[in-house]
């Protein structure tokens, strides 16, 4: 295959990627968009085998087979609740792959490498490694294998600043000295920086960081495209870098967070005061029957689902409850916070899985003005997205995040496993409000009891 035809096919794949991103931006075309992207990537991969001389072919095919055997079952079997961390992991390995490609190509070029090529190699190694180790930390946080609170240690900001300086220093070293050792030192330092960079980020901000690292990986792919003289990689990488940056900003806006504050939290965050003065205050807890009675006499009920609902696999039970209430003539809506779940849009995916009709799902801006006319708001396994501290307590980790104003409803019911605070680790004053009733226990078990109690009425 001539270079011309090869490049032309590469360009076509690039166009498919543009159409993919365009499609993914609209609900109706989203699935087709993803398939277009997969098609473009598939074509781009296949044509490499027909261009130029290819050695180590069995190693290549074998490695692709291994990657497929690992990746496909992971993607197929993952529970939808754990999907955000899988995306984080996929992003991380992509960044790692880009860094490795840059290291190998650098070995290959040897002394022939131009200064520009060396600079792009350095960029790819640094950002690829940061993306790799940073994504691993986001994975650990989301999987709750480590604390979801910001990890801040004394002098942390100096350690981070020193590591960053070391990364920059060794970048210069690589450009001047040229050699494998400096490059490997650089890779090690970058991995360390990625870890330090993500550790101080609090649980609620993790999705923003994943999105940012995703954009980073895109840019590394573009940079390695320059070194490998591949227009396709430049186009694809830059597209992801640019759209990922916009997406990161949109997400930060939806969550009411400043991007700057999220990223440089490491330099400003103080170890949190976690003294629980509030813990032994009285709360009003009720039985499933109390809840059923309250619901039976309501005219309008808003269900606020959170991640706890998904963890308990209670999507279907909550739909059963909603259907029952509707059959009793009660007006029912689901109030969906933009970041309910672990990532923007995550809750919509989970409820769609349970066949909840789309027209019952109300976005935050739609549902907030209606809480005044709402008799009962049922908060199921959610906490941070209804926490008034976001409005009233400057300095708390979620301050400024728009919330669902359930406190305006006449009654609030919380279905919770325990008094433990939410993902962001902040106490919720609303739990102690006189009009709040708590129903402790597993969300699914509690909902099942409420459904049978309501049927009996």
């Amino acid at each position: 295959m001539s270079d011309f035809v090869y490049d032309l096919i590469g360009l076509t794949a690039g166009v498919f990627f543009i159409l993919a991103l365009k499609g993914l931006s609209h609900p109706r075309t989203a699935r087709r968009g993803n398939l277009l992207g997969a098609f473009g990537a598939g074509v781009a991969t296949i044509v490499v085998f027909f261009h130029g001389e290819l050695n180590n072919i069995w190693w290549i095919l074998g490695s692709i087979a291994v990657g497929t055997v690992v990746g496909v079952p992971a993607a197929r079997k993952v529970q939808m609740t754990q999907m955000p961390q899988l995306v984080a992991l996929f992003n991380g390995v992509g960044g790692g792959a880009a860094a490795l490609v840059a290291i190998v190509e650098y070995q290959n070029l040897g002394d022939k490498a131009t200064t520009a090529e060396v600079i792009f190699t350095v960029f790819t190694v640094v950002v690829g490694c940061v993306s790799f180790s940073g994504s691993i930390i986001t994975f650990l946080k989301l999987q709750e294998l480590m604390t979801t609170r910001p990890v801040v240690f004394p002098g942390g900001r100096f350690v981070i600043a020193a590591t960053l300086a070391a990364v920059l220093g060794s970048s210069v070293w690589v450009v001047i000295e040229l050699g494998t050792t400096p490059l490997l030192v650089l890779a090690g330092l970058s991995l360390a920086f990625g870890i330090l960079f993500v550790l101080p980020v609090g649980g609620a901000d993790v999705p923003i960081v994943i999105s940012l690292l995703n954009a980073f990986t895109g840019l590394t792919v573009a940079a390695s495209g320059y070194v490998l003289q591949s227009t396709l990689l430049i186009i694809a990488g830059t597209l992801v870098g640019a759209s990922g940056t916009i997406l990161t900003r949109l997400m930060a806006e939806a969550m009411g967070r400043s991007l700057f504050g999220t990223l440089f939290g490491a330099f400003t965050a103080k170890p949190q005061d976690t003294s629980g003065a509030a813990e032994d205050r009285p709360v009003r807890s009720g039985s499933p029957d109390d809840v059923a009675i309250l619901l039976n006499y309501a005219r309008r009920v808003v269900i606020v689902p959170g991640f706890g609902l998904a963890v308990a696999q209670a999507q279907h039970t909550v739909r059963e409850l909603a259907d029952l209430m509707i059959s009793k003539g009660i007006d029912v809506a689901y109030g969906i916070h933009p970041v309910a779940g672990r990532m923007p849009g995550h809750m919509n995916v989970l409820l769609a899985e349970a066949n909840v009709p789309y027209d019952q799902l109300a976005e935050m801006d739609e549902v907030n003005p209606t809480f005044g006319q709402t008799d009962v708001a049922i908060v199921i396994g959610a906490n941070d997205v209804v926490n008034p501290a976001a409005k009233t307590t400057p300095g708390c980790p979620i301050y400024g995040m728009p919330i669902l104003e359930v406190s305006n409803a006449s009654n609030v019911i919380f279905l919770k496993r325990s008094m433990r605070p939410g993902f962001a680790g902040i106490e919720n004053e609303l739990l102690y409000d006189p009009k709040t009733m708590l129903l402790f226990g597993d969300a699914k078990a509690s909902l099942t009891k409420v459904v049978s109690a309501l049927k009996a009425l």
Binding site: I18, L21, A242
Partner: protein
């Protein structure tokens, strides 16, 4: 192969930045997660780069590193598209979804 001139690279980069900004500038928060996941799968195309470097790897170190790169890139690309499709599958058939 003829080298890409710096101006060609800068042009491709600049135009791609604007296209990337433009295509996602108005997206509802419902689609943030699938869009991120789809974009994530697209950068899995680094697989092409991994295959190229593997094909001219001459030392054991180069071969080892590029084999790892291919495995990781494949996971990123194929896994990414599959998981995105699973997410979007759930939106199908929901009529009147546009609000």
């Amino acid at each position: 192969m003829e080298a890409l001139t710096p101006i060609a690279v800068i042009s491709i980069f600049t135009l791609s930045v604007f296209v990337g900004f433009e295509v996602v500038s108005k997206v509802s928060s419902t689609l943030h997660t699938p869009l991120m996941s789809g974009a994530n799968a697209i950068h899995g195309v680094i697989l092409v780069g991994a295959i190229i470097v593997c094909s001219h790897a001459s030392t054991t170190l180069e071969l080892t590193l590029s084999v790892i790169a291919i495995i990781l890139a494949t996971i990123n690309m194929i896994g990414g598209f599959v998981v995105t499709d699973r997410m979007l599958e759930m939106f199908k058939g929901k009529k009147g979804g546009d609000k």
